[in-house]
Structure formats: structure tokens, C-alpha cells
Symmetry: C2
């Protein structure tokens, strides 16, 4: 677990004045990494205030360590930074913090360097932060698993394995896209109208989002070598917002017995910025509070440190804006708000479980949490749960099916073409500056 | 579908005499690609007789097209070759065939070039042919799906979706290893001894192999754009043998509801050589013969060309050698032999289905067939089916459980430490030279 230091001081300010605004999305305590397009070339950068700092320019000016310089110059994305040992990652944060908060730093005083190294955020195109090698998706929210399970097995919503291990599956890496990328409504096999009938092929009719949080990994375990829970936190690089778009009708038809496949692989959206575990240090909190009904954890998934501080004080919100709402100049509707703090499994547990069979993790691999839902209806992280359309368009007597009503007068059970889904998230507590994760946006196109 | 041409002439010979032996593994009609370590640097090569030809040396000598030269020099694996358009791939085969069969070719006559471009196969280390971006595994054998299903659902072995779509799941790319790599027995959660009990954590007790065939893909469809069945064959680069090692006890416990995860991700072995679709042209055959009990295919998975020649005349064998057998100098025991020709789904159908939701396929992506089993007991492609240990160590009255007897007097239900599994495969018919796919080997270490 990262320790608190002067880079977390809530009173620290930057000579980039926009970072000091109380509502600044990127204060000097945050320093998230991303990739932007500059002169038609992708470059790693760090966000502060309304600026992005070109890390390549800092490296070329000789302002960064030898290891960080190589990690920045030899890669067109953040894979290099994710390959650095944790001590180098901490040192880089300290160096960037000094360059951006000390009014006497080289960057603060060299106007020539500023011209090459600083660009207004509003002027740059942000790219996918990492060309992810392997992407794995978990199912770590007790409330989500219980809600979804209870639609199909009302008397027995949770399967026997669920509280013993973080259930996960391999996802598709190639179709990860950055926030802002339009999402094509997928075509696919749709389930037969009744038992014994044949499926049809056509556009998905039950398109959903899933509010998730992702963790980028640093890799470092050779094939055959697990990552113990005590080392797992050091293998987490940072987190992002994730929208795991889901075609519910396709999923229902295809997923037995090998799990979701085409229902997920048409697109998964990640946010542009990766907030490091160093930046998140002030917001760590206990993991899920297990009760007497919860089975004991197997030793490889159990540690005092993980129980005490494996969680994260992260507030999450989902908004929807339909094409009609935008035409009528209505603001996006908040669909849900909740916390990442009550996930049953921590990222450290997910990673340790993932590598427990010796599976090798590479720098830049991504694990996602699965849909983040809370105990309240207002904190359900996907339409399937919000509208309770568990019968997939065939409601039964006594159904709890509840279409969403939009301010435009429209109704939604699932997403329509033109709908934009916007996920936001930020860490907040009473003692530190808010750390915003940015946004994860996508609009459905037909 | 590739057409037959002079490179398939069974009477063609090479000036590399070992290629002309009737039992040659790599005759001049084959020309499979692989990657070998030369002077501590990975290089693409082509196998013929007992030699490997260094493609980089041919490119540097100016003997290949501009496109092929770039595809070879800019990559340390076969991804570049897999990025070439099909016409360039055919042209490269023709050029290599000419260089290796014409006794007046530059390579045949330039002893200086031969010294840099030819190496004895026995002297080189073969590496993984591709750093695969995304790996997907299917479940395309009717006999395998029926056998496995009938262990759990004797009255209803096949799920309703199975004959309508090629069931598949995303696999783990990072843990793909090349033939000859030792496979560490994975640890993991093992199922509770009885209902309501807790799982345990320890070494897998029911370790299995799965005989599969893989197809490397050329990519080329942007996100959101399907690959129609009529174009799918051009997106297949070539095939390899695959062993999808499986931890059956871990799989049984973890796989509901999101499919296999850690039971598969500890290692998947691929053979060293990739045999191109061009080389395989003489061995194409009709796909599975569907009967009146089989539902009609949806139009996107149905074409006359695929029905007539989507299959492949490929003979497959699996051998086992235990440590005791090797100590006693006993030869490996053949566990099964069968054909790839009666798979229910063709690779073209698997690929078209995979991309039907717009999922983007990249050059070097790998799809595997799932366990290749036939109708006979002797053609079952994994121990689960051969020993019928469907009750996972808890046989019930009337069980068909049948331990394997090894010539050393040992018995096997699943793999023990020290067991080596060897998969071999070759294409054969009465009119053309046999095309051997090489081997896929791995030994279990504890």
C-alpha cells in the first residue's frame, strides 16, 4: 500500500493556476497519465489544471530519471510507465509534482520548455492509454451478482462459488476503445421466441451499459509464478473508468456453457486518464465488511492489510443523454450514483486470484471490476438492474420491470441509438483534495 | 479458397535433398513458417527438409517483394507475414518455392548466401511463432460437446444453442507457450468435497490435455465491420496444433456463470510451425454433413463454398509418455487418433461468427477449434472423455469410468507430473504429398 507524503498535501498549489481552482478536475495532487495525439504522433502526458504536460518533452529536456526517460521515449502509450518498478513510479510522481508545484522549477521558469511541453487539454485529442495485451473482467459486486442472479434463480441468486473466489472471465482486448468513441450497435444471434424455435440474426435489441472500474497492471510475474496478496498492491499501476457494453439478448442465448463472448466483445470503453495508486493513497479504506453469513476466505485471499485498506473511497455516477434530450437541450439524466467502497472483492484479491494458477500478467494488462452496484436501487450499475428487465422483454406476472422515464418523455428498458452514456467518478474524503477520474463516454450508433 | 497450382505438384523436388525423402516432414510443397533464435535474435524462417531458411537473409539479399521484405524485417515474429494481403502471401510462397526447387535459383547457386540463410533444423531453438494479441477458443466438435455434456446431463447433452452457433470464449493470450515448454501443474481452488462444504486450495488433481487445431488470422476488419463468410477464408493465414491444457477440478468449481478462467489460463501450448492455407489447398474437403436432425444454418453461417470445401483432411494423433515409461525406454503410447474432417463448424464459420458483432480481428490473432473428438472411443481428444471420469473422482454406480493402462503398468485418469503429451497431425490424401504440421509437446512439472 502506498504511503502518504507531501504530494498528497491538500494545501499544495501549482504555478499552473487552473489547477488550484477548488473545482479543478486535475489538481496537483492527482497527476493522472494519458496518451494524447501531438503532431500526429501519440505521446504520454500528465494532466494538471487545464493543461496536459508532454512527458516526452520533459524526458528530452533531461528532467526525468534514466528509467523513466526510457519508459516514456520507447513507447507510444503508457506500457513503459507500467513496466517501471514501484519505487521508480513513486519517484516519477515526486519529480512531476516538484516540476509542477515549485515556482522555481525548470518547467516553471523556462518559457521555451513550456512552449514544447504544455498544451491546453481542450486542444488535444486523447487516445487509448494502453494497447492492452490481456483484458479480464470480474464480477465482484455482491449486489450486482445477487440482483442478476435473482432474476433467474429467485430462491438461490448466488451460486455456491461466488463468495469463495472472485469470479471472472477473459475479455476481448482488441475492442477496447477510448472514451468518446462511438459504439456500433452489434448484430448477433437473438434467442428463439419460445423453446424449440430457432434463433434469429439481427441488431441487438437489449443493449446495456455496465458501470465498472478498471485497474491497469504492472505485470512482472513469470509464467508459473503466482502473485501473493502481500505483493499484489505493488502490481497495480492505477485505475480508470470502464463501460463494459453488453448485449443482453445475445448474452442470454450464447453464454452457456462457456460464458459471455460476442455479447461483450463488440466494444468496451475505457476513460482517457489513468489515476495512479500513488494518487489514490489518501482514499484507501477497508474492504467489504464480511458478516457471519459469509464463508471464511481461503488464506491466499486473506490478509489484514487487504481487509483494512484494500478498498477505495470512490464515488461513481452514470448519466444518460438521448438524442431527443440533446435536441431539447435537456441536461443528461443521472441514472445512478454509488460507491466503489462496498465491492466484495478488492483489486488486490482479483489480481492474486488471477495469478494464483501461475498465469503471467504483463505490463499494461487490464482487469475490470464487473458492474459496480450497491444495496440501493439508486446505485444499480446497469439498465438490466435498473429496469429489472430480467425476463428480457417477456415480463411475467408479478414482474418488477420498471422502464426508465427520461425528462424528454421517452422511456427506456435498454439503450436506443443516439443514447450517450457518461460515467464519472471521483475520490473524496474530508481531509484531501478530490481526485477526479475523468469521464467514460460513448454514444450508440445504429 | 486457395487454388491449386504448381507449388502443389507432388512430383516437385528440392535441391535440398532431405526434402525429397518420402518420409520428409517438410517437403517442398509444405513450406511452413516459424520463428527461430539466431545469434540471440528471433527471426522468421521457413522449414524445408532438415533445414530452416532464414527469411531475413533472403529479404536482405533482395530476393523477396518489397511488401514481404518489410513484413519480415520489421517484426521479430510472424505478425508481419500475417498482415500481408492474400495475393502477397501467395506470391511469397511462389517465390520461396522457386528459390528452393529450382537448382538454378540464386539460393541454390550462391554458397555465400546459403551460409547465411540455411541452418540445420536440429541446431536451432524454435520460438513461439506469434505474440498473439487475442486468443479465442471454440467448442466445435459435436462429439466432444456431446460426450462432455452427457456426463452432466445424460438426457440432454447438447444445449439448445450448440447447433446454431459456434460456441466460443475468450482465452488468455499471455500464457500461450511454444511446443517443448514445460507446463507447471497449476494451483487453484478445488471444489468442496460435498455440497455445502468449503473449497480447498492446492495443486490441480485433474489435469488434462485437449487436442485442438488453431488458425492464425490475418485481421483486417475495423471495429464494427463483420467479416462475411465469403471473405473469411482469405482472413485465415494458416494452422497449428494446439494443446489447451485444462484443470478439470478447478474448471468445475469456477465456471458458472462466466465460463472457464483459471482452469485454462495457466498454459496453452502451440506448435512451432504454422502451415499456410496455401499449402493446405489440396486437402480441403466438405464440412460436417448435416442431417435432418440438424437445424438449418442462419444465412450468415451458410454458404455452398463453405459446405463443399470448408473442411480439412487432417489426421491427428495424441501420445503419452510417462516418466516411468521413459526410464523403462518404452515408446510413447498412442492415446487417440482421429480426423479434423468431421468438425461441426469450420474455421471460416468460427471467424465469421466471431466478427459478426463487429469485433475487430488483428493480424496474429489465434482461434482454436476446441477439443477434436470423433465418433469412436479411439478418437476422443482429451482424458476426460477417454477415461470418462465425468464424476471427477467420485464415480457413481454404473459409471463408465475407465482408467488408461500404460505399458509401464501405471494407470491414469488424469495427467501426473512427468507425463509428456505429444500431439501430431498431418494432411494426407491419395493425390498429394503429405503435409505434416509438426508437433505440439509439453511435459507436466509439479
Amino acid at each position: 500500500m502506498r504511503t502518504l507524503d507531501h504530494t498528497h498535501d491538500p494545501t499544495a498549489t501549482s504555478w499552473i493556476e487552473t489547477a488550484n481552482d477548488p473545482h479543478a478536475v486535475f489538481p496537483p495532487q492527482s497527476l493522472p497519465y494519458g496518451v494524447f495525439l501531438a503532431d500526429e504522433w501519440p505521446r504520454p502526458g500528465v494532466a494538471i489544471g487545464d493543461q496536459v504536460v508532454d512527458l516526452t518533452a520533459l524526458a528530452e529536456a533531461g528532467l526525468l530519471s534514466a528509467a523513466a526517460t526510457v519508459a516514456i521515449r520507447d513507447y507510444v502509450d503508457l506500457t513503459g510507465l507500467m513496466s517501471l518498478p514501484v519505487a521508480e513510479r513513486v519517484a516519477l510522481r515526486h519529480q512531476l509534482f516538484a516540476l509542477l508545484t515549485d515556482p522555481k522549477s525548470r518547467l516553471a521558469t523556462d518559457s521555451q520548455l513550456q512552449r514544447t511541453a504544455l498544451r491546453p487539454l481542450a486542444s488535444v485529442q486523447l487516445l487509448k492509454p494502453v494497447d492492452v495485451g490481456d483484458y479480464s473482467d470480474f464480477y465482484a459486486s455482491l449486489y450486482h451478482a445477487t440482483n442478476v442472479g435473482s432474476m433467474f434463480r429467485p430462491d438461490n441468486p448466488l451460486l455456491p462459488n461466488w463468495k469463495h473466489l472472485p469470479i471472472g472471465y477473459h475479455g476481448r482486448a482488441s475492442s477496447l476503445v477510448v472514451s468518446g468513441t462511438a459504439v456500433q450497435r452489434p448484430q448477433g444471434q437473438l434467442p428463439p421466441a419460445q423453446e424449440g424455435a430457432h434463433p434469429t440474426f439481427g441488431p441487438c435489441r437489449q443493449l446495456d451499459y455496465e458501470l465498472e472500474v478498471g485497474a491497469y497492471l504492472t505485470g512482472g510475474n513469470p509464467l508459473g509464478h503466482p502473485i501473493p496478496l502481500s505483493a499484489a498492491e505493488d502490481h497495480l499501476f492505477g485505475i480508470s473508468l470502464v463501460n463494459d457494453w453488453s448485449a443482453r439478448d445475445m448474452q442470454r442465448w450464447e453464454y452457456q456453457p462457456l460464458g459471455p463472448f460476442l455479447a461483450k466483445s463488440f466494444a468496451t470503453t475505457v476513460s482517457s486518464w489513468v489515476t495512479t495508486m500513488e494518487a489514490l493513497a489518501p482514499f484507501r479504506c477497508p474492504g467489504f465488511t464480511r458478516g457471519p453469513a459469509d464463508p471464511p476466505l481461503l488464506p491466499y485471499l486473506d490478509s489484514t492489510e487487504n481487509a483494512d485498506s484494500g478498498g477505495l473511497q470512490l464515488h461513481l455516477e452514470v448519466y444518460l443523454s438521448s438524442a431527443t434530450m440533446r435536441e431539447q437541450r435537456l441536461p443528461p439524466l443521472r441514472l445512478s450514483h454509488g460507491s466503489f467502497g462496498n465491492m466484495y472483492w478488492t483489486f488486490a484479491q482479483m489480481l492474486t486470484h488471477h495469478a494464483s494458477n501461475g498465469c503471467n500478467i504483463n505490463p499494461g494488462d487490464l482487469i475490470a471490476s464487473g458492474t459496480v452496484s450497491g444495496a440501493e436501487r439508486s446505485s444499480r450499475g446497469c439498465l438490466l438492474e435498473l429496469t429489472w428487465d430480467g425476463e428480457y422483454g417477456h415480463p411475467v406476472p408479478g414482474s418488477q420491470r420498471t422502464p426508465l422515464r427520461l425528462p424528454s418523455g421517452e422511456e427506456r428498458l435498454f439503450l436506443q441509438d443516439g443514447d450517450e452514456v457518461i460515467i464519472q467518478g471521483w475520490c473524496e474524503n474530508s481531509t484531501h483534495r478530490r481526485i477526479h477520474l475523468g469521464e467514460c463516454r460513448g454514444t450508440i450508433v445504429g
